[in-house]
């Protein structure tokens, strides 16, 4: 029996494209290209971000500041960055690069990553290509809490990231409750999201009327359009653990996404407990969205276009799609933030404005090019 078995195994591994090995799908040339190009964009964008600013460095100076071995291989420095300990002495260039400019790049990477795969998951859950991380009420819940905190409960501003994420999560649960009637369906979920979004959006606009200080309004706009201005290692420390958890869960859940794409009937007849899987996957996506809201506010369009771009390049297999989003999301976000920070130098605009512009143009291009948009 065992002899026969190994014989059979051999014929399959040589005769078919699906390998028995677990990670062989990662070796897809398209996926590798996507990852490498994305890494290059992130790297170049990061280098530009480090070089330019109020304290200008040449590219080579920036290069040496970033790859300063005294920082790169210094455990005390990393302890300071990642756990908030005291920083060791370093050159001024390295201090600016590592303590002011690079953290912003890292936050952009984490935010782009989270929004990218979060959008991909929501598109599988709702079976709609036009779904985004903010489709199920997350952004409106977070936005309302941001405004309430800034305008009404000014003393709680220190907890803004936490409050915003909790607001997003609660709004998501409310959407689910509204959508539930003998189970949910993609359409009911999306409609419930629209209802909650509309009501909470009105409340947000209402609260703007009560803001008497232009500074508060600007701060509120920065949070509700998404901004990376002033982010540092503190934000990296907030987002990193949740990102790691969410990425892990998303990769594990990718096969469930694939089966969901076969339609509810088929998924059910294959023995999937659809409601449980759908809720769990949404939970992972909300976690990722909340982590990004906590550090950057509500950055629109990234979660919508990143899965699109990746799907066009590697296909709709979620195992590849999620991994692709983990690379392309950061590339888009870092590139957009270069524009947000340097385009109107010395004025910095919220990065959400840049992603909105990029997103709008991308969709215009997509509409001209593709016949049917919407269903995956």
């Amino acid at each position: 029996m065992s002899g026969g078995e190994s014989g059979v195994g051999e014929t399959y591994s040589s005769g078919s494209t699906v390998e028995g090995r677990r990670f062989s799908w990662l070796l897809d040339p398209k996926l590798i290209t996507v990852a490498l190009v994305s890494l290059a964009v992130v790297f170049l964008g990061g280098l530009v971000q480090v070089s330019f600013g109020a304290y200008s460095m040449t590219i080579t100076e920036a290069w040496f500041a970033v790859f300063n071995p005294d920082v790169l291989f210094n455990t005390q420095a990393w302890n300071g960055f990642l756990f908030g300990g005291e920083l060791p002495d370093m050159s001024q260039e390295s201090l600016i690069a590592w303590n002011i400019r690079l953290p912003r790049v890292f936050v952009a990477i984490l935010v782009g990553m989270n929004l990218g795969f979060s959008g991909a998951i929501f598109q599988a859950v709702t079976r709609n290509e036009l779904a985004s991380p903010f489709i199920l009420g997350v952004s409106s819940g977070a936005g309302l809490m941001i405004l309430l905190t800034l305008v009404v409960f000014g003393s709680l501003t220190a907890f803004l990231p936490l409050i915003a994420s909790v607001g997003g999560g609660v709004a998501f649960l409310v959407v689910y409750l509204i959508a539930w009637k003998n189970g949910t369906s993609p359409v009911r979920l999306v409609l419930a999201g629209v209802i909650v979004g509309t009501v909470l959006g009105s409340l947000q606009t209402g609260i703007f009327f009560f803001a008497d200080d232009i500074g508060v309004v600007q701060s509120a706009i920065a949070w509700t359009t998404g901004s990376l201005t002033g982010t540092d290692w503190q934000q990296v420390r907030i987002a990193l653990p949740w990102t790691v958890v969410a990425v892990g869960l998303a990769v594990v859940g990718s096969r469930q996404c694939n089966v969901l794409l076969l339609g509810e009937q088929t998924a059910k007849s294959l023995g999937m407990s659809i409601e449980r899987v759908r809720f769990a996957l949404s939970g992972v996506a909300v976690l990722a969205a909340a982590a990004s809201i906590a550090v950057a506010g509500i950055v629109s369009f990234v979660g919508l276009i990143v899965p699109h771009i990746v799907r066009n390049m590697v296909g709709s297999d979620y195992k590849k799609l999620i991994v692709g989003c983990v690379f392309v999301g950061p590339a888009l976000m870092v590139a957009a933030d270069v524009g947000a920070r340097l385009a109107l130098n010395p004025v910095q605009i919220p990065v959400g404005i840049v992603t909105g512009l990029i997103g709008g143009i991308y969709f215009l291009y997509l509409m001209k090019k593709k016949e049917n948009l919407g269903e995956i």
């Binding site: 059979v8 078919s16 494209t17 003998n182 076969l262 339609g263 059910k268 294959l270 407990s273 709709s316």
Partner: protein
């Protein structure tokens, strides 16, 4: 491979048994729906009211009836896609409600009427999804999975399509791919909802040949909803005719397909002639409601 050696061995033995033992009641599973009341949550009145249906083990049972007669609803009830309001569905004497989702999916496969898949999915990957109920949450693809996929692709005759993307296939080829996916589940009971509707004749025959092969070689119990009465009479061992959610007749084709039944169930006047390949039905005219005395 995340399987423990023992687990791998048992699942292998099971596959072997299903493949090797040619006949006998022990390998085929019967499917019985008892006193089923099935309806949709959105409608008040149930579609099926207190009907009992038995699919003989290792045989092909065809459900026929006019549009809206409840044949697809009955099939969905048997497959647990619609939870019956009353009554129970038994597989091997066990209530399917007592089986978990995956446990049921290992015993009972369903080919739905409308199936959608992402266009860029390859046939082989689609068929691999049929292994879903056999795989644990973290489990990777095992040799048993590969064998099942291989066998399913072979049986459904789509080995020439395995690398193709689903979006590039014709309607008939798509149906073969979906049948292969259902076969990869390796169930003892297979429910097919109008598998030949909208297909060209070649693919219709191909699908029915697969159904017969499954019955003859694998002793699978098959319940199939068919639109074409002649086709049902020719390929099925038993037929069940429905109208307005009620079973009007059941039995071997020659007993069910009669001129009287065609008038009663389908509202047509027709001539039925027995031939070597099942009865030949020549529809003559529709019986209109007003003149209908039966």
């Amino acid at each position: 491979m995340a399987n423990t050696p023992q687990a791998a061995e048992t699942s292998e033995q099971e596959t072997d048994r299903a493949q090797e033992i040619p006949t006998g009641m022990t390998t085929s599973s019967g499917l019985t729906g008892e006193e089923l009341v099935i309806g949709y949550p959105s409608a008040d009145d149930p579609v099926i009211e207190r009907e009992t249906i038995t699919a003989k083990p290792g045989a092909v049972t065809a459900l026929i009836g006019p549009n809206g007669s409840g044949k697809s609803t009955l099939l969905k009830g048997l497959a647990n896609q619609l939870a019956p309001e009353a009554g129970s569905v038994l597989i091997d004497g066990k209530d399917i409600h007592s089986l978990g989702g995956k446990e049921l999916a290992k015993r009972l496969g369903l080919l739905s009427q409308e199936s959608t898949a992402p266009d860029s999915l390859t046939v082989e990957d689609l068929v691999m999804h049929g292994r879903y109920p056999h795989r644990g949450f973290f489990e990777s693809v095992t040799d048993a999975d590969h064998r099942a996929v291989e066998r399913a692709i072979d049986l459904s005759g789509c080995s020439h399509l395995r690398e193709r993307e689903v979006g590039s296939l014709s309607g008939g080829q798509k149906q073969l791919a979906w049948i292969a996916m259902t076969l990869a589940q390796e169930t003892d009971v297979l429910l097919l909802d109008e598998p030949t509707t909208f297909l060209d004749l070649h693919h219709q025959l191909e699908v029915m040949e697969i159904v017969e092969t499954l019955r003859d070689e694998s002793e699978i119990t098959i319940v199939v909803v068919l639109h074409d009465i002649e086709q049902a009479a020719r390929h099925a061992d038993y037929m069940v005719a429905l109208r307005d959610g009620e079973i009007q007749a059941r039995g071997p084709p020659e007993e069910v397909v009669t001129e009287k039944l065609l008038a009663q169930v389908f509202g047509i006047e027709a001539e039925v002639k027995p031939t070597g390949r099942g009865p030949q039905i020549t529809p003559i005219r529709a019986i209109h409601e007003g003149s209908d005395e039966r």
